[in-house]
Amino acid sequence: MSLRQAVDRSRAYLCLECGICTGSCPVSRFHSAYSPRLTVEKALLFDEEESLRDAEMWACLTCGTCDIRCPSTVDFTGFMRSLRERARQIGQEGVCTHAETIEAVIELQTSAHYRRSTSWMASGKTVGKAKYYYFAGCLPFLDVIFDDIGFEGRRIGTSVIRILNRIGITPAVSEGEVCCGHDAYWTGQTELVETLATTNIRAIRKTGAKKVIFSCPECYYMFKHVYPEIVGDLGFQPVHIFDVLVPHLDSFKFKPVKAKVTYQDPCRLARIEGVIDEPRRALRALPEIDFVEMQRIGKDAVCCASSNWISCSRVNKQIQLDRLEEAISTGARTMVTACPKCNIHLRCAARDDECKIKIDIVDIFVLLADHLGGGKRGT
């Protein structure tokens, strides 16, 4: 895609240069050299080469705050994605975090030897073929990679399966499942996304599932918005676990949670999908819980400051510390989140030597599954 097409498709030509995007951007707030407004202006005024060689383009978190606030409805994140796709063609790329481990895991998943092991599921019932499919995504791999910061990816997956079992759903899982390709999509690796998408669709279709349940907001986003563009009709319906879970909340009879907690909205779930009330309803269903809100919530929530596994710098750390400060100022000592990435990134920041904030980061599904009481079984 040329720069011209990128401008046309994202309607960047409507830019009024008002600067609301830069004012809203969590990165610009701590890193003055980065400005969404300037990126658009450069693309409109200067030559293509200069725009594509701009290293600052990889600093964008694709969190979408600018998208929802832009008065001209410019799709800035879409513009950024096209720009990155084009930049990749001339050999530019972002700096991978975690010494490229996650990129290597994805590469391994596309190799011929790959057969995903389902041994990571410690408990919970799953089958090979069923009406429902649970898409765990990269959770078991992230569990191994981020073991040092205490991230328990397997536990999140197992908790989701336990919750589903309690509702009366025995989901199918597959050996052929690979990464959803979310990060490859946002860093402009279109061909890789196509490979991953077709592999996933083939694996899920084999199980005969009609509904695919997601706990990761990013996987959900990919299946709901991007995969249909690549493969057309999916042949099944992508569903977020909250849609399945919320109608059953009353029947669960949770055990009491004696803690003051706050909730971090994941970008894809809150800002893009608008799933804001559901997680809060789930949290309030826990007896004796003291649930408090941070200042910036819902669509205005701040991103966990690192996405697509590229560009993790001092700036990102500052955004994370700022968010943790906000969380702690509510009086809560536990921060609940529904996205594995928010969990990993905020956990990493909270464990930093410079960070004086003591806060626990807990996944919402782990919290719910751990407090499941003896409610009614099945539907």
């Binding site: 010494a99 481990t101 590469e107 011929a112 995903r116 041994s119």
Partner: protein
């Protein structure tokens, strides 16, 4: 390797050597990418822990190999295909033995894999 070569040892064809400055500098991604490219087996060799010039290079390497093995298992690849040994440069004979054993193990697994696919 030089010590083993003096004893008449030579690498079998299809084996390549990747020199690194310190085994502790090997990254998980580096090992994974070797497997992704279809390498049948990777043997990581490092200095003895007490000989480490950088204090904990070999220990760090052990952790990296452990993490990589866990990821390989999750991806359905036999973790035994990633070997790890700490030896001293003076242990030429030991080196020869380790390499021989590893090649045999990986070779066996490869044959098994090939025969399984051809029977299908």
């Amino acid at each position: 390797m030089e010590n083993a070569a003096r004893d008449g040892f030579s690498l079998s064809p299809g084996t390549s050597v990747i020199p690194v400055r310190c085994s502790g500098l090997i990254k998980v991604s580096f090992l994974l990418k070797l497997f992704a490219k279809g390498t049948e087996g990777v043997l990581v060799l490092g200095c003895l822990e007490q000989d480490c010039r950088y204090f904990n290079g070999s220990t760090r390497c052990g952790q990296i190999v452990d993490e990589t093995r866990k990821i390989l298992e999750l991806a359905g690849i036999d973790a035994a295909k990633l070997g790890f040994h700490l030896i001293s440069e003076s242990q030429g004979k030991e080196f020869k033995k380790i390499l021989g054993r590893f090649a045999k193990r990986v070779g066996k697994k490869r044959r098994r894999r090939v025969s399984a696919s051809s029977s299908r």
